[in-house]
Symmetry: C2
Subunit: 224 residues, 2 copies
């Protein structure tokens, strides 16, 4: 057959789980989770959609793998640092990873069946609090508070309809113009006097809120 001869000229490149997941992450980064379809993923891998199922159980399994991939990109808290510094660094790294892969903010089934990178990450974060003098109970509080904040911030950041300062200013001006001015006076004030000021960037809010949470955790650790 002609196809057999052609196959001899262009030998198949074997797939594997890592290559599949990496390509899927690229696709989702570019167009969001809804751009990730098995057929399109197949195209990017030069393979038919069904061939992917030799390497992942189904689409959910694929996405779980992708989420673990993202967790693997987060810098683990360093043992050498004091707890606050260590958690601060990994929180920034966490937020950066979620900004690189915005689709990951909504996945969160890492909660139901976490992959190995996710487990290691969580273990190290918990260990950092414990070694920093937090009781088991206060470690739970700290873990919940910090990660809730990070996830929530990443989600808000993702949902903004702009990213660069120029886009922000343009978008804010439009939104301000079409706001009924008397109906939402405080919203109008915030937009006009803060968002539209030169140099405004929503991303700058991240560290302010993060440090607020970390300082609160420090005083919580030392009281009761």
């Amino acid at each position: 057959m002609a196809s057999a001869r052609k196959a001899a000229v262009e030998p198949r490149i074997r797939l594997n789980r890592e290559r599949v997941i990496a390509a899927a992450v690229l696709l989702a980064d570019a167009g969001g989770l809804e751009a990730l379809t098995m057929r399109r993923l197949g195209e990017h891998l030069n393979v038919e959609a069904m061939s992917i199922y030799n390497h992942v159980a189904n689409k959910e399994d694929l996405i779980t793998g992708m989420a673990d991939e993202v967790f693997g990109e987060i810098g683990l808290p360093s043992h050498g640092d004091e707890w606050k510094t260590a958690i601060r660094k990994r929180s920034i790294s966490f937020r950066d990873a979620l900004a690189r892969h915005p689709w990951a903010t909504t996945v969160r089934d890492s909660g139901t069946n976490p992959g190995p990178a996710t487990l290691r990450h969580h273990d190290r974060v918990i260990g950092t609090f414990r070694n920093g003098g937090f009781s088991v109970e206060k470690t739970a509080h700290a873990f919940s508070a910090v990660d809730s904040y990070i996830y929530g911030f990443a989600m808000q950041e993702k949902s903004l309809p702009f990213s660069t300062p120029e886009e922000t200013a343009a978008m804010a001006a439009i939104m301000l113009a079409q706001l009924p001015p008397n109906e939402y006076p405080y919203l109008a004030e915030l937009t006009a006097d803060h968002v539209l000021k030169p140099g405004y960037s929503y991303g700058d809010e991240f560290l302010i809120g993060l440090d607020l949470v970390l300082d609160g955790l420090e005083s919580m650790r030392d009281t009761d």
Copy 2:
């Protein structure tokens, strides 16, 4: 025709946007956003799928309407209360609304084209900070920090594979049993000594983290 006669016996009930959105919210509450399909929604409304398009522009418009519905359920901060009390109450109400409608945590296109309930809600929250003595800039910090925390917490809560205390204990025991014990010692400790303790409920973490954020905002307001 027989169908014409039958129609005379069972006259059509007219649809409208509110009824469509309310039914869609019910459907999503019960089975998540992926259970919300136009055909199923039609069935629940005793109507063909395409008839729904006389009342919403498309599915995205429908979901936007649903999100605004949820925002409408959140109690507005009261003018009578001190800012901290007012924000605390509305934050609890916000979290309750997101717990009732878990699908809403991932929607967030309220950011791109907010509905009237969403706008009113935001305006009132911003106004509460402003009248509580926050500068415009600090109001932005406060708004971002509080809502990030609430969204993130709601998302984590939603992604837990259990809700009742019994389920939690059962699930935690299973997860603990299948954890490589030496590989994740801190995770194991937290699960055994905290999650498996009687009376544990992740939901209790909400107020702890919320008060931590609110206290932090208070001292931020009074410094610099």
